[in-house]
């Protein structure tokens, strides 16, 4: 049953990255769009993301619940040492979640819209940035449970070049996901080309940030290269991700939404696989060589078993409904009343 829980944990993280990421990306694209085009971007984005908006961030909550029910030690440690970036991410989530809805449901459309937009855009960049920082900090061996002073316990645990570059990388990935996703939602050729251009920009930035991540990993002594290239499946995943890039580019150039979505999802999946595979089951690496492991630090058996059942039974209800939700808003155009 432990493995059921682990698979759900991994899947929830992946889905949050994909769906929540596309959602953050909507704001990031707006951030990089010239003022004249923002109105159009916003409208298309809203139509595409509105209906699934509430559901997207549920993946984060599921991740958290799995952590504290199944792996309480890991949840507690991260909560203590990454308190500050977690709080920053939460503030971002509050700001963008509310701004997004407020701007659509404000009964009067006036200058307040500008305020909502600004909040939405900035928080859409900040949230995935800190998400990336948090993810990087779990493996960068900077979380120090022995630390005596404030700085090394609560600041340097997450503030270093490696984490910051991963944060930037995450921002680019989210922007790419949003642009790629939206391509399938546009009605006009002009819009499609517009978003394809954005997506390409984001890919280029992501590759550049990826290089920065590698440079930073050398500086911070994070054996990133070794993790990724140390074992065959990791190499395979990265190779697959790189090889699919040209196809993705082709898809973007020719406005093939399906190709872009599938390959985009595939890329993210492979990247996540490559970085988690090597040090599984140790999902948190601590300063001084220690680690927190999904196997050694699992909760008591009964807790894991009931969690697994709750997840399995929950999926029976959730997945079909979610699928139908996405399908309906994809395929069905509004009927006349």
């Amino acid at each position: 049953m432990l493995y059921v829980v682990i698979v759900y944990l991994w899947a929830a993280i992946l889905l949050y990255l994909l769906l929540g990421g596309a959602d953050f990306g909507a704001g990031i694209i707006e951030f990089f769009t010239s003022r004249n085009n923002r109105g159009r971007t916003r409208r298309t984005m809203y139509q595409a993301i509105g209906p699934v908006w509430e559901a997207n961030h549920m993946w984060l909550i599921i991740t958290i619940v799995i952590l504290f029910v199944g792996f309480p030690k890991i949840y507690a440690t991260l909560s203590v040492y990454l308190h500050i970036p977690l709080t920053a991410m939460l503030l971002g989530i509050i700001a963008r979640g509310t701004a997004f809805v407020f701007r659509n449901y404000d009964a009067v459309k006036d200058d307040m819209q500008k305020v909502y937009n600004r909040i939405f855009i900035y928080s859409s960049v900040i949230t995935p940035f800190f998400l990336g920082i948090i993810a990087a900090s779990t493996v960068s061996r900077n979380v120090d449970v022995m630390a005596q002073d404030f700085l090394s316990a609560y600041i340097f645990s997450w503030l270093n070049w490696f984490s910051v570059t991963v944060g930037l990388f995450t921002v680019c990935i989210c922007g790419f996901l949003a642009a790629g996703y939206i391509i399938g939602e546009t009605d006009s050729v002009e819009d499609r080309q517009f978003f394809a251009r954005k997506a390409k920009w984001m890919i280029v930035s992501a590759v550049l940030c990826g290089i920065l991540v590698f440079l930073a990993s050398f500086k911070e002594n994070v054996p990133l290269a070794e993790w990724i290239f140390g074992k065959a499946p990791g190499i395979f995943a990265i190779a697959a991700a790189s090889l699919s890039l040209p196809f993705l580019w082709y898809g973007l150039t020719h406005g093939k939404a399906i190709i872009v979505r599938l390959l985009g999802g595939f890329e993210i999946c492979m990247i996540l696989f490559a970085v988690t595979y090597r040090h599984f089951p140790n999902i948190v690496l601590l300063k001084g060589g220690g680690h927190l492991s999904l196997i050694e630090h699992q909760g008591q058996e009964k807790a894991i078993v009931s969690l697994a059942w709750a997840l399995l039974i929950g999926s029976i209800f959730i997945l079909p409904a979610l699928g139908y939700l996405m399908y309906s808003f994809e395929k069905k155009k509004p009927r006349e009343a």
């Binding site: 549920m58 709080t87 709750a310 309906s328």
Partner: protein, 443 residues
């Protein structure tokens, strides 16, 4: 303010904020479902307008409820890591099921808000009902988790170790039923009175009277039924507390000395040093009756409880008085309302009845906040009653005070914006839903 107190304040603030949105998110879908149903059955367009107007308000509340809930699920760990490290696996069952309930709620909400004119009308109506039902279920589940903190079950506590965990037993602990019942009714009463009050005000101002009268009617019926049931369920809760947490009951009643034929104390100022209550009205024997169903029963006072396990008496006592006081007023208003409907139809046209409802607008929510203060402050100094102390659960990170300030600022600004948006929604009712001017567009 020390770190510990800052953490408690931040937790209280976040929960106190979230609960308002959670109540509205649980209850409004039911109001909408009724209005929506009447529209589908009768084709009366006013009801469609009511449904749409409400659903826009609800979308705003939902988003705010969802983000504040997300914050809470992190805050449990950010502020109380030692608590979560042990409690997580034990009381996690309701949270894992709640995940499903929220998810269904969020999906159904997507269908409902964006589904006008897209689906079969009854399917669309049904998704609205699903939003309400799953919201209610999630509320009940999370309260079951809180009830576990009051009445821990489902594990053996041996030498500081938590052994033989049984998450199902933990979920169905002794307190869950009385708390979940009382909370669910409270959600209906508080939201109902708030909504009815706003519509009553609009009727008094003579704006769009047809629209507001019908909206008032729906919300007032829910509110008053709930307000009539609330004291009954409160009585169940009180008897329950007397059994499982005598210290909390003693603090609620400011009952310092153990005695038979204990008096019920109304009002008064508890003096914790002198262990007595000044200026109170006492009803002999009433407390014994309320707590144990017998005028002569013995009621444990704080003198039987070691000093270091006393909850703060004054806060708990005042909060309890506020809740019961407001509950009584709301119950009386409800009685009047039913007399009006059944015997004195003419009162319906009278301004004083509507004014009463306007005055009662915030009462339910104040009672909810007061009730939670009773439950949570009355549990102190324990975070898990009788097992773990709150002091031992707090995060080692210093400087929580700043985080408390930041969140306070955020919640205050959010409250202002939400109030502002709501005001705008209501003042736009005229323009959006006046059929004589122009047809309405879909949302």
């Amino acid at each position: 303010m020390d770190n510990f107190f800052a953490a408690r304040s931040q937790m209280a603030l976040s929960l106190g904020f979230h609960i308002i949105f959670a109540c509205i998110g649980m209850v409004m879908p039911f109001f909408m479902a009724v209005a929506h149903y009447i529209w589908l059955k009768t084709g009366n367009e006013v009801y469609r307008d009511i449904t749409k107007a409400w659903s826009k308000g609800v979308a705003i509340f939902f988003a705010t409820g969802a983000v504040s809930g997300t914050v809470l699920s992190f805050e449990l760990g950010l502020l109380w890591p030692k608590f979560m490290e042990h409690a997580g696996p034990i009381f996690g069952m309701p949270f894992s099921l709640e995940g499903t309930a929220f998810f269904i709620e969020a999906i159904a909400l997507g269908f409902f808000l964006y589904g006008w004119n897209r689906f079969n009308r009854w399917f669309h109506w049904f998704t609205g009902v699903v939003v309400g039902v799953s919201g209610l279920v999630s509320g009940i589940l999370v309260v079951a988790a809180n009830a576990w903190m009051n009445s821990p079950a489902g594990f053996d506590y041996v030498n500081g170790q938590y052994l033989n965990i049984d998450p199902i037993k933990a979920m169905f602990n002794e307190a869950w039923f009385s708390q979940a019942l009382h909370m669910s009714i409270a959600a209906f009463a508080s939201t109902g009175f708030a909504v009815a009050g706003i519509h009553a005000l609009m009727i008094l101002r003579k704006s769009h009277v047809t629209f507001h009268k019908r909206a008032f009617r729906i919300s007032a019926v829910f509110a008053t039924v709930a307000a009539l049931l609330q004291p009954l369920s409160g009585d169940i809760s009180a008897k329950d507390v007397a059994k499982r947490q005598p210290a909390k009951l003693a603090a609620m009643e400011a009952h310092f000395k153990t005695e038979e034929k204990a008096a019920l104390i109304l009002g008064g100022i508890p003096d914790e040093k002198e262990k007595k209550v000044n200026y109170a009205i006492e009803i002999p024997g009433a407390l014994s009756f309320l707590a144990h169903g017998n005028f002569h029963a013995e009621v444990t006072g704080l003198d039987r409880i070691p000093e270091e396990n006393h909850p703060p008496v004054a806060v708990t006592h005042y909060a309890f008085q506020v809740m019961v006081g407001l509950g009584t007023i709301m119950m009386l208003i409800s009685v009047l309302y039913y007399i009006t409907i059944w015997k004195k139809k003419s009162w319906l046209e009278k301004r004083w009845l509507l004014k009463l409802f306007v005055i009662a607008t915030p009462m339910g929510f104040i009672a909810v906040e007061a009730g939670w203060t009773v439950t949570e402050v009355g549990r102190q100094p324990w975070i898990i009653y009788g097992v773990m102390r709150t002091v031992n659960a707090v995060t080692p990170m210093p400087g929580i005070l700043y985080s408390f300030y930041i969140f306070t600022a955020v919640y205050i600004s959010l409250s202002c914006i939400v109030a502002f948006l709501l005001y705008r929604q209501i003042s736009m009712v005229g323009k959006l839903y006046d059929h004589s001017v122009e047809p309405i567009n879909a949302i």
